[in-house]
Amino acid sequence: MPNLTSLNLMPVLPEIILAGMACLILLIDPFMPRHGRNVSYALSLLTLVALFIVTLVQMSPMVRMSFGDMVVNDPMSDIMKLASYVSLAAVLIMSRGYLRDRGMDKGEYYMLALFGLLGMMILISANHLLLIYLGLELMSLSMYALTAFKRDDGRASEAAMKYFVLGALASGLLLYGMSLLYGVTGGQLILTDIATALSHDSGSLALKAAVVLIVVGSIFKLGVAPFHMWLPDVYEGAPTAVTLYLSTAPKVAALAMVIRLLVDGMGNAFADWQPVLIVAVVLSLAIGNIVAIAQTSFKRMLTYSTISHVGFVMLGILAGTDVGYSAALFYTLAYIVMTTGGFGMILLLAKQGYEAESLDDLRGLNDRSPVMAFVFLLLMFSMAGIPFTLGFWAKLAVLQAVVGIGLWWLAVYAVIMSVIGAFYYLRAVKFAYFDSPTDPSPVNPDWNVRGVLALSGLLVLVLGIFPGVLVGFASRAFGGF
């Protein structure tokens, strides 16, 4: 092991900056005026901008190993980190008004959000089993705390408890799988070494058990069925600003974990994990699309829609090709744009002392705000995967990957499920466009929320016509397509 002075700290510069800034915000926040966390907010955004610039400057098409191969920086990690920064910035900007109205604008929110991001970044760049676990736990603990952020609220506490217990279970399974893998590979912790070790060993029962446990542990965070039970309750119970966070950036990190573990580490056990993922995808698409129809809460509906979307992401992974991984990343990035808009709509419709979580609250949106209604229409059609929106290309990419490896029956199944799913998106559009408003007052005039929503609508439309930019990013991450 090299000593500290000879270590090259540059590859982890973004992580160092983030950790430093998070601690700084933690320190100075108590000395700031009691009301309004303007300084913490501004510093958090500034940190994200700084991180964005640093990562952008460090970007390179090479794979860069550091810290004795424990940390890896490659195009995939660069792009995923950049996406996480942008996504968290959007979350912070949008939640500002919501938190203030509900007396939740505390310094801890920003600090937990930043520590959560740190966990994600570690996860994204981890090339070592322990580092993966470390990143996962740092991310998850921040998320648990954020879910319970409104601590007097029974629903939020219940959601946080559920999240914590099930999350701990999943972590346990993951750790158990890792320990089996450690044994099977003869004591390897570095993912690239595991890959080498596994090229000799194939088909042992212990490996199969390790594969199943690791798949379960890693798809839990994504919310892939049958490990989706926590998702609806947590998303519904958590304050909407937190739901917005939970449903966006952590999905990128979870995808990174899946790719690091299954592809980088256990790529040779592809034949073992592919069937597991196929089962998970079949269940996710069915549960996500069919159960969503029965929801009256818009927030819950979006949650089930998330389950279906992560099912599509897994469709790309199980193709087991670079094209498939790029498609999965592309889908995830598209999903983040759409979901930011989707949960953002709830923030838009919410008022002081009133959570607009029901589908009924969408009634007559076109009469109340035509621009926001149009954004909503684009988001819904994008989630349904109709052309002229980003969602279509995302679905096309994963379908192409799956048909490419000959699993066309799975593609047929996926499109049938997306037709079923289209029904509830159409129903949401129906509320916004075809019904007259029960409450004709203008919608939330908060320009932060409106601005980000308009931006996400614009992205859905512009990238829906010119998806090349985003596809290019995703394919650069893997050299795929």
Partner: protein, 507 residues
């Protein structure tokens, strides 16, 4: 005249879409401005599409006005546009119909007029894109995208059961087309390109062809719509506002027929030949059975909707009867094949004009009395003589009277089917009786007789705007009826080539 170096087709596709977004954005609260702007842009697009005609070479089947740039290289998708003798007439029909639809909405649509006009302009661009696309994904992009504006049009400005009708319409067509998407992706991996022209030349085994054919069949049969997947159409038509019905009947149904010509026949010729009897049977059921269903309707719009399904039966019959004609040993000249496809094409254009005219006429009555029930009218001729005269022309064209466009297409298809099988021709010819029964009976009950009630007594005849709108259709219907040659010349070379492609085995 625009210089030929311009991307003419892109203009025709994107100009309406951009104009539509502009109207949606700036037209709020300024209905007058929105109307004139929408009219001006649709007229300009119509003129540009007409400007394609002088530069169009009718002696070749090759694609013309071709534009091709890489769109998403990672997916192998090219932005590839071009027109031939099949797509050009349909393109011009689209741009013309949109002008008519915008005129038809003038004072009628008061609520959110700018959004209504914007939806139709965006719709126009997408339909043009569908007809001009030479890349399968570009085709799918527009084919599927046009569901969004139509969903909104029926849902916002439709009748009492609009939500049911529009969701049914959307899900039906969406379900149909997703299978086509899988088939297109599959073919991409087989031939390494999404280009429709490459797919047409690609060899495929019979099993592959049958599966791909069925995927296409579901997509296009729902769109046309063929019996038994036609049930969305009467609902959508009845609930849609007048303009929506016009676009649905005049253009969207044609996209199904166009799809058969562009995809099914050339890409899967052997499967088409194998399964042709199924499609012929469905077409004959549509012509005869749906004709009888139309007879018993009390709602005028529903009657015309069923009549549309019945008439579209001729289109599919003409397209798929060619295999039987080619197989018939008595038919040596081989001209029957061309006659059948040309008949189907003329029928599509003609039905586009006639169904638009019928729905607009019903719209004119509905705007005055707010009822579509046949029983609410009677003796309209006494108060609206000019209107009655034009409706009679449309009705005669719908029946297929010689001298109107309706006659040309139906006659060609019946004549061609006679070369295949006497019984098919006989059943198809039944339409002349059934069609006459339901159309003329409706005209008799609505237009003729004594004035039935006070509402009819107070009717005012068509105003200048409506007279222009309906009058231009009268002129076109009669023009195509007595002088179809320019139209036939336009598509002659392309259909010759298409017939050859369809009858050449890929095995």
């Amino acid at each position: 005249m625009l210089p030929s170096s311009w991307p003419m087709l892109s203009l025709i596709v994107w100009l309406p879409i951009i104009a539509g977004i502009f109207v949606m954005w700036f037209g709020a609260g300024r209905a007058r401005f929105a109307r004139w702007f929408a009219l001006a842009s649709s007229v300009i697009v119509f003129l540009i599409s007409l400007a394609l005609l002088p530069g169009f070479d009718t002696h070749t089947y090759a694609m013309q006005f071709v534009e091709r740039v890489a769109w998403i290289p990672q997916f192998g998708i090219h932005y590839h546009l071009g027109v031939d003798g099949i797509s050009l007439p349909l393109l011009i029909l689209t741009t013309f119909t949109t002008v008519i639809v915008i005129i038809s909405a003038w004072e009628v649509i008061q609520e959110k007029a700018h959004q209504y006009l914007a939806a139709f302009l965006i719709m126009e661009g997408m339909m043009n894109g569908t007809f001009a696309a030479l890349d399968a994904i570009v085709f799918y992009f527009f084919f599927e995208g046009m569901l969004i504006p139509m969903f909104v049009i029926i849902g916002i400005w439709g009748g009492p059961r609009r939500v049911y009708a529009t969701i049914k319409f959307f899900l039906y067509t969406f379900l149909g087309s997703v299978f086509m998407l899988i088939a297109l992706i599959y073919m991409y991996f087989k031939c390494g390109s999404f280009s429709i022209l490459h797919m047409q030349q690609m060899p495929l085994t019979l099993a592959e062809q049958v599966l791909i054919f069925l995927a296409f069949f579901i997509a296009f049969a729902v769109k046309i719509p063929m019996w038994p997947v036609h049930t969305w159409l009467p609902d959508a038509h009845v609930e849609a506002p007048t303009g929506g019905s016009v676009i649905l009947a005049a253009i969207m149904l044609k996209i199904g027929g166009y799809g058969f010509l562009r995809f099914s026949l050339p890409i899967t010729p052997d499967a088409s030949a194998l399964l042709d009897s199924m499609i012929i049977a469905f077409s004959l059921i549509a012509i005869v059975y749906i004709g009888f269903v139309a007879l018993v309707q009390n709602d005028m719009k529903k009657l015309v909707a069923y009549s549309s399904i019945s008439h579209m039966g001729f289109v599919t019959l003409g397209m798929f009867v060619i295999f039987m004609i080619a197989a018939n040993p008595l038919n040596v000249s081989g001209s029957g094949v061309r006659l059948a496809i040309e008949g189907a094409m003329v029928q599509m254009i003609s039905h586009g004009l006639i169904s638009a005219a019928m729905f607009l006429s019903i719209g004119v009555l509905y705007d005055r009395l707010h009822s579509r029930d046949i029983s609410a009218y009677g003796g309209v001729v006494n108060t609206m003589p000019w209107f009655a005269a034009m409706v009679v022309v449309f009705a005669m064209a719908n029946v297929g009277l010689p001298g109107t466009s309706g006659f040309v297409g139906e006659f060609m298809v019946i004549l061609a089917s006679y070369k295949a099988n006497f019984w098919i021709a006989l059943l198809a010819a039944f339409t002349l009786i059934i069609g006459a029964s339901y159309t003329l009976w409706m005209v008799k009950r609505v237009i003729f007789g004594d004035v039935q009630n006070e509402g009819v007594a107070k009717l005012k005849d068509v105003n200048k705007r409506e007279a222009w709108m309906l009058g231009s259709l009268v002129v076109l219907i009669i023009l195509v009826g007595i002088w179809p040659n320019p139209l036939l010349d336009l598509m002659h070379a392309t259909i010759e080539h298409l017939a050859q492609q369809a009858l050449t085995s890929k095995l």
